[in-house]
């Protein structure tokens, strides 16, 4: 699993970093960043999917 943030959609809700703080962080503006380069470890997959589901802006893109 790989994940990225659609920067045009992200509004800095930070719902992703609350659901999966190991995977998502914040840039200077408070918009989401992905903390893990490359594949997301399996034990974080469920949290990552929850982060995607909880984003009101649909800004989290998961590539399996």
């Amino acid at each position: 699993m790989r994940v990225r943030v659609d920067e045009d959609s992200c509004q800095g809700q930070q719902m992703c970093s609350i659901a999966a703080p190991e995977v998502f962080g914040s840039d200077e503006l408070g918009h989401a960043t992905v903390l893990i380069a490359g594949d997301i470890p399996e034990h974080l997959h469920a949290k990552t999917r929850r982060a995607q589901a909880n984003c009101p802006e649909d800004a989290i893109i998961i590539e399996d």
Partner: protein, 405 residues
């Protein structure tokens, strides 16, 4: 149709005649929101208070919030702004970026976002914790307190004062001014204008002071010095100060109050939080969902049919975030507080380009206020549930909320 007398008659059908200032709606808006949401007319309309639309389903509210070109922020309150009565140097001062539309909105927001990023607001955590402890020191020996006036009301105003670098003995006056604008002022344009002018007058002097005596690590000084990047004017900086008071005080105060009111009646939730401290971030989101304080308004830019509703240019829309956040199409058991709710796509802070800029600060204040309260006062209850008073309209939360412990 702007006076209280003209608008206060009984409501028979909320889908065609709702009144967000009705006493019962102010006390407990959720049954009415649910009735509208599950009716054939989930976007209600009223002629009261000059007329407005009231979308209640999650998908509709989010779509409106995200369509900022059609649903503009030229007005964000249910009643017309009395700004046109303001004259001279006050006439153009708004509350950027909440009142801004693109293209100016971009830099209006860009300048303040770094101040409110999660890593930036973290530095206010210890001060907020100390403040909460001091407030509790003041009443813990009495065995009784007002969770509203003695605690929830006292916290955000002091955090915001610290951020703005202004004297913290202004707290009571700030609270009074903000209530004048947002509580009484929504239905009384004269009170609203008077209190708005008090806010602007106060910050005009603060700006003059910072120009003479610039400070290090000071929000107002930093904003005044941002002119090399953006066309920053005194009007903009005054507007941001205005916004921080208007948007940063009774919103978070209401969220803290509602959460304390809820926890007073749910010993099982207090225990759950005591037993599982890791639950706090998830629990805070659930309390924000279930007791979303804010309903923001928009002004329709041009005639449009939205979900079958014939909206006209200049119509007002009330984005009922509290109703959206209890939509069963989006949330299972929406009226139940489930502190470990995993799927929670709430929009308590709105959606789209106007997502609440202070959301990370609000979350921090709410979490710390509740954590400190439960550390110091693990068991408590309402003195008299019927005696709790509520503010409503566009910001919903308890005001007088006596508890015993």
């Amino acid at each position: 149709m702007t006076t209280v007398e003209e608008n206060s008659g009984p409501v028979t059908d909320p889908t065609s005649d709702y009144n967000i200032f009705d006493a019962e709606f102010v006390r407990d808006p959720y049954p009415t929101m649910s009735e509208i949401r599950e009716s054939k007319c989930p976007i209600a309309h009223t002629d009261r208070w000059g007329g407005s639309w009231f979308p209640t389903r999650y998908d509709d509210v989010v779509a409106i919030a995200q369509e900022h070109e059609i649903f503009t922020s030229r007005s964000i309150t249910v009643t017309a702004s009395p700004l046109r009565q303001a004259e001279g140097p006050y006439a153009g001062i708004a509350a950027p970026p909440i009142t801004s539309d693109p293209p100016d909105h971009h830099w209006h927001r860009r300048l303040i976002l770094p101040v409110f990023a999660p890593q930036s607001v973290a530095k206010y955590e210890q001060g907020t914790r100390d403040l909460c402890n001091r407030l509790i020191d003041g009443f813990i020996d009495k065995g009784e307190a007002d969770a509203g006036t003695d605690y929830a009301q006292q916290i955000p105003v002091r955090v915001i004062s610290a951020m703005l670098g202004v004297r913290d003995d202004m707290a009571d006056e700030f609270v009074s001014w903000v209530r004048g604008v947002l509580e009484v002022g929504l239905t009384d344009p004269i009170v609203r204008l008077e209190n708005r002018n008090k806010i602007i007058n106060f910050f005009r002097e603060e700006l003059a002071d910072r120009k003479k005596n610039p400070r290090e690590n000071d929000l107002i000084t930093d904003l005044l010095n941002s002119g090399d990047k953006y066309p920053v004017s005194d009007q903009y900086v005054l507007g941001v100060c205005n916004l921080m008071l208007i948007a940063g005080i009774d919103t978070t105060w209401s969220a803290i109050g509602s959460s304390l009111w809820h926890l007073a009646q749910h010993p099982e939730h207090r225990k759950q939080l005591r037993d599982n401290p890791d639950l706090w971030p998830t629990a805070v989101e659930e309390l924000l969902r279930a007791y979303s304080p804010v309903t923001m308004a928009r002004l329709v830019d041009r005639d449009i049919e939205f979900q079958g509703c014939p909206m006209k240019a200049g119509d007002r829309i009330l984005m009922a975030f509290p109703a959206a956040n209890r939509d069963p199409r989006q949330f299972e058991n929406p009226d139940e507080v489930i502190l470990d709710r995993q799927h929670n796509r709430h929009v308590a802070f709105g959606s789209g380009i106007h997502r609440c800029a202070g959301s990370n600060l609000a979350r921090l204040e709410l979490r710390v206020a509740l954590q400190v309260w439960l550390e110091r006062i693990p068991e408590y209850s309402l003195v008299d549930p019927a005696a709790v008073t509520w503010a409503g309209g566009q910001v919903h939360g308890p005001r007088v909320c006596r508890v015993q412990f």
